[in-house]
Subunit: 364 residues, 2 copies
Amino acid sequence: MTEKSSPTDPIHARGGSGATIADVAQAAGVSVATVSRALSGNYPVAKATRERIFRSVTDLGYVANAHARALAGATTRTVGIIINDVADPFFAYIARGVERQASAEGRMCLITATHGDKERELALVDLMREQRTDAVILVGGASDDPRYRKQMADRARALAAAGSSLVLCGRPSLGAGVPTKMVTYDNEGGAFAITDYLISQGHRRILYVGGPRDFSTTASRLAGFYRALDARGIERDPALVHEGAFGRGFGYSRMRELLDQEIDFTAVFGANDLVAAGILEALEERGIRVPQDVSVVGYDDVPVASELRPRLTTVRVPLEELGREAVRLALSQTPHDAGASSDNTLTVGTHIVIRDSVSPPNKA
Amino acid sequence: MTEKSSPTDPIHARGGSGATIADVAQAAGVSVATVSRALSGNYPVAKATRERIFRSVTDLGYVANAHARALAGATTRTVGIIINDVADPFFAYIARGVERQASAEGRMCLITATHGDKERELALVDLMREQRTDAVILVGGASDDPRYRKQMADRARALAAAGSSLVLCGRPSLGAGVPTKMVTYDNEGGAFAITDYLISQGHRRILYVGGPRDFSTTASRLAGFYRALDARGIERDPALVHEGAFGRGFGYSRMRELLDQEIDFTAVFGANDLVAAGILEALEERGIRVPQDVSVVGYDDVPVASELRPRLTTVRVPLEELGREAVRLALSQTPHDAGASSDNTLTVGTHIVIRDSVSPPNKA
DNA sequence: CTAGAAATAGTAAGCGTTTACTATGGAGAA
DNA sequence: TTCTCCATAGTAAACGCTTACTATTTCTAG
């Protein structure tokens, strides 16, 4: 098999599977060590030599083998992020923050999705561990199954032992003594604030709809909701809280069911904006006006919230910022949180944004 | 099971940076080769031995080093995808398809974003090449700058030479002879169909707004738009087409400007749904009713289209399917498209979905 | 001039796997 | 009993880079 394609042919000069550093070295008439140095630029190489090397590099279309490089000890320059679903705006915005900050710090970003499967989440952490990522960022609410927590804690330790770190983004701690970093947002506070706003408008019977049961995010939002109720001396009515899921479809179907049951309420708190969108649709379908007949609020302030009509009053969570902070923290040199409350946990604030979906209840 | 770190403590038994296969071999009293075989399961290993090995693996919390594995010749089992922006639903849905199909085929998925920067796009392809991904999927419209095309073609060849492949998703060919695979959707046809629909409703003066100039996607959509006009014998009026960008913000601001100019039109074709959303807002702001006063259509049918009020009539593009097909094609054994028109290019159909944003023009 | 310090290159030892070869111990065949 | 052939297990050579050492020039100062 003759090496036909002209020797100066840009990229496919070498037949095989891409040029290696040895090919470059040979072409430039130097040793591989020199090529390696010229490329990483952390060691003096004569100008003429360097130029010869770079010419060979472009001639051959050489790119370093990242695996060989990683193996040889250099860092992988990659951070991993594990989210529920790439197409869910809540996660997508966090992912965007992570991706941007990572690339600002010269890292690649390995994004994977669990589709809500806990086992898969554990497996993905291992996968990231195999990839030796500089950090793995775990996003979104977590289950509170103890077996699961224990397994995740094991992985956090393994990661820490390998010099990487596990950063929990918007999810609860794995317990004291587990080496993790955390960046969260004030879920409970936001839920409190928006519930309180509803109450201040005169609402007393507020429906809470959505969010998986036994899920940390749901728990915090509900906690804030209850705290606001308690603070104003309004009785908690179990008949008014309806957990389930975070999707738009859930909001729509559950709201329809609730409407059929003729429950007495004047406002609905959607566990997130998507659920609220579904709720709005169910209401619209029945000819119930928002906010005149019923007020509705959501959570997260994803872009769709301001696309809805009426525009949705909701709680703003600085998603992209959250992602950015996660990688900053991950890549910072601060040691892991091994003790009780170190400064390894960072909380970004939330605030309510008032739009058009709330008004005082109809004094029917 | 006591909670103290005994020597047999799961994961952090070894202090350093994670157990290696040699540690496992030692713990199990066998050679590394045997461990490797037991793990990959492609070579007979006595049952007792295998069990001993697996026990050591869990005891030590061992996970293989993916880099060493990749280096030693096994494939990387990773596909790379390059998109504009993780948070843009158009790309997010394609990414979801890619991610799902990849994981269905036992691959990881490396997602990166260009933020619309051509140079960065080129650099990202090289990055993927460094990672030796099994395939790289390049999504979204492309610039038609010849220098850029040449550079991308070089990379396509390099990838092909290395046994990987470049798959172009929703973007035009790099030219005959360049080894790529393609999966596209019928941009021109969808634009034709929806324009024709507008015309059939009686519209004659249709504004086209959005989409970067000199961009393949814009070109195809405009081509379909013009073809529909021509087919019905309606004169093309340059004053009616306004290229620019794909964002919601562009739709909003450009629509405002156009409204100030008091141009004569009865319908607006937004280059995509986001632009249409901006257009809708500008219209609403001026008290112009849709569809009574002006009809509006978009393109892509991202979820927000049905969240808008009125619900947006648009062109449905099977985004997730597109992503899935891209990885199927990428991983299939079919050779690259080296000739003219092979079956290496796959086109998924588009169709218009009629909702509430179009009606016959007001006979004012 | 000459010793010693730069500056510049080369040598070779890993990094953690996979896998082609080789070795060993029985089981069944002759 | 002796020889083959399996089933298993071990050895060691890549894979493509980085980097600690070592070697050779070339300056610079004394």
